[in-house]
């Protein structure tokens, strides 16, 4: 999508994101009950989680370490910090306050790079605790509004969160999607979170406003409940257009919180600024300041793995692919770039190695079962036109099913004997003779005519001819 594809008349989109991620700890932020998704309701509870009278919070050291990993990976400064109480009433907030970081967050002033050297500032990445989960019953829609009652499970209450707040540096919905995707890739690589948007362990709030370049930013709306990368883009596109239409229709944008409804593809008012809560932030007296020792910060920094962007660059260089392209992104996200390196190290064709892995290894994880040398051998067979690309795909499936093996033997078993160049040339000549009209058009520069010729050859070879090799021969014959 090009910049401002959805915005007419020179309107400029301005987006900032607040992303909440649940940290991959064993226990909660301030107590020792389990941080585990999917358990029976209210089975991971303790006095702190339930906000029982007399319970006191004690900070989880591993949560701090994971938060520092996130901060350092996002180029933030890690600083001395404190915890505040954010006071508001809601049934899934057990103490009627959330412990969060306010004026002194753990991580500040970082950035994240998007494709095309687009730099998105990170204002802060702070620690806080998650709420419990309400389920609404009765009424018509199962939504909060109009329900008869709600049931509350506190298993999620107190799960450690890091809230990552970007600066309003994002200018297109595509950038917003890239930002979330990149952030997710980083979180996975540093092991801070499983970042599953569908399970809510990564949640996005999107701040959207529009303005004309050169004028101050417009009033922003915060959109909640954006639960997939795809929704991020859709919600922004919808909301931006809603705001532009509103302004151009003579109205004004109200500062408010809006709810994204994925089914209808619309945002709707959740609450307006006027009835916004007064959170009465104050320093949490039950906790003491967190002043990470420099040695600890250094240790965490030193232990950080190579980040996705650097890994994609390496992979792209090794394999001759686009560093911002789908293959590089997907393979690194799955952590399979090391494996691709092994395949290439075993003599595999670099480009084919990465593409094979991208296309066929989606559910293989970071350590695919197929030995690297076997996959390397397959890429060589295809590169040397010993098998066609269609046959190679079949062999790849065989290879994965068998968990490895001798691909030459597998090809023989399937009857994929290679066609040598002489045989191919004979077939090409036969096809030219059979389709003189198409050949003439092709020679006149009509590329589409190529299809009919190649099709005829594939047919006569019963699929054994390699389409790419055939095209090469046809091209060289045309030049003559």
């Amino acid at each position: 999508m090009s910049d401002n594809a959805v915005l007419p008349n020179g309107w400029q989109l301005v987006v900032g994101l607040e992303v909440h991620v649940e940290l991959a700890t064993k226990t909660k932020m301030f107590s020792a009950s389990a941080n585990r998704f999917g358990d029976e309701p209210n089975t991971n509870i303790d006095p702190v989680t339930l906000g029982l009278p007399g319970a006191l919070p004690v900070l989880n050291k591993h949560a701090v370490e994971l938060a520092m990993r996130i901060g350092l990976a996002l180029n933030c400064k890690v600083q001395p910090c404190t915890f505040h109480r954010k006071n508001y009433f809601y049934p899934d907030l057990p103490k009627a306050y959330q412990i969060t970081q306010y004026d002194h967050p753990l991580n500040i002033d970082g950035f994240l790079m998007l494709p095309g050297e687009v730099r998105i500032g990170i204002e802060r990445a702070h620690l806080e605790e998650d709420t419990g989960k309400s389920t609404h019953f009765g009424g018509t829609s199962g939504r909060i509004h109009g329900s008869d009652y709600s049931l509350i499970d506190f298993n999620r209450a107190g799960v450690p969160l890091v809230e990552i707040v970007s600066r309003p540096d994002i200018r297109t919905s595509e950038q917003a999607r890239q930002y979330v995707a990149e952030l997710r890739a980083i979180l996975l690589v540093v092991g801070a979170s499983d970042a599953k948007m569908e399970e809510g362990s990564m949640r996005c709030d999107v701040n959207v406003s529009v303005h004309k370049p050169g004028t101050p930013f417009g009033t922003r709306c915060e959109i909640k409940n954006v639960n997939s990368i795809r929704s991020v883009g859709r919600a922004i596109d919808y909301e931006a257009r809603r705001q532009v239409d509103l302004i151009e229709g003579g109205g004004t944008v109200r500062q408010e919180t809006r709810h994204w409804d994925d089914a209808s593809g619309r945002t709707e008012t959740l609450r307006t600024k006027e009835d916004a809560d007064d959170y009465r932030y104050f320093l949490e007296p039950d906790l003491v300041p967190l002043v990470p020792e420099q040695s600890w910060v250094d240790q965490v920094r030193a232990a950080l793995p190579v980040l996705p962007a650097a890994r994609r660059n390496e992979l792209a260089e090794l394999c001759g692919i686009d560093k911002d392209g789908e293959s590089a992104f997907v393979v690194v996200e799955r952590g399979q770039d090391d494996y691709v390196r092994q395949v290439v190290g075993n003599g595999g064709d670099p480009r084919r190695s990465v593409i094979y892995v991208q296309q066929a290894f989606a559910d293989q994880g970071a350590a695919p079962k197929v030995p690297a040398k076997d996959l390397a051998a397959l890429t060589i067979l295809e590169r040397d036109a010993k098998v066609t690309s269609t046959q190679a795909k079949t062999l790849l499936t065989d290879l994965i099913e068998a968990g490895g093996g001798d691909v030459v033997a597998m090809a023989a078993k399937r009857g994929f004997e290679a066609l040598d160049t002489g045989a191919l040339e004979a077939m090409v000549d036969a096809a030219i003779a059979a389709e003189p009209g198409a050949w003439q058009k092709y020679c006149d520069g009509e590329e589409k005519a190529l299809g009919a010729l190649v099709g005829a050859i594939m047919k006569s070879s019963k699929g054994k001819a390699d389409g790419k090799a055939v095209t090469t021969i046809l091209q060289s014959k045309r030049k003559k």
């Binding site: 700890t25 064993k26 226990t27 020792a32 009950s33 389990a34 029976e40 309701p41 209210n42 089975t43 991971n44 509870i45 303790d46 006095p47 339930l50 004690v58 900070l59 989880n60 050291k61 591993h62 949560a63 701090v64 009433f89 809601y90 049934p91 309400s134 389920t135 609404h136 009765g138 009424g139 909060i144 509004h145 109009g146 329900s147 008869d148 009652y149 709600s150 049931l151 509350i152 499970d153 506190f154 008012t269 959740l270 609450r271 009835d275 809560d277 007064d278 009465r280 320093l283 007296p285 906790l287 003491v288 300041p289 967190l290 002043v291 990470p292 020792e293």
Partner: protein, 100 residues
């Protein structure tokens, strides 16, 4: 220091605190709070511009626990103490409107 507390402010604060006050109670509360706040004006005379707020009686820092799981409370024992429970969860009345 801000001007004297008004009944409107008292009503707003009571909403924040989820305490419903009858008009009579609000009236009484306003006059009592006003009396106290008046008394608390003694600190207005102090020049506090160079004074660091004191938030902690004893200067500790970096108090943390290891990430080790301990057993959960017994759900039944906990739910037995709840005003209303159903299907292993706490039951609450519906939220009307979006004012939460």
């Amino acid at each position: 220091m801000p001007e004297q507390i008004s009944k409107e402010t008292v009503v707003k604060v009571s909403r924040l605190a989820r305490l419903s006050l009858s008009p009579d109670q609000a009236e009484k509360m306003t006059s009592q709070l006003a009396g106290m706040l008046e008394h608390f004006r003694d600190i207005d005379a102090l020049d506090l511009s160079a004074v660091e707020p004191m938030t902690q009686p004893y200067p500790l820092k970096n108090v943390m626990r290891e990430d080790v799981e301990m057993t959960s409370l017994d759900r039944q024992e906990v739910l037995d103490q709840a005003p209303a429970a159903e299907s292993g969860r706490f039951r609450v009345p519906p939220t009307i409107g979006f004012d939460v």
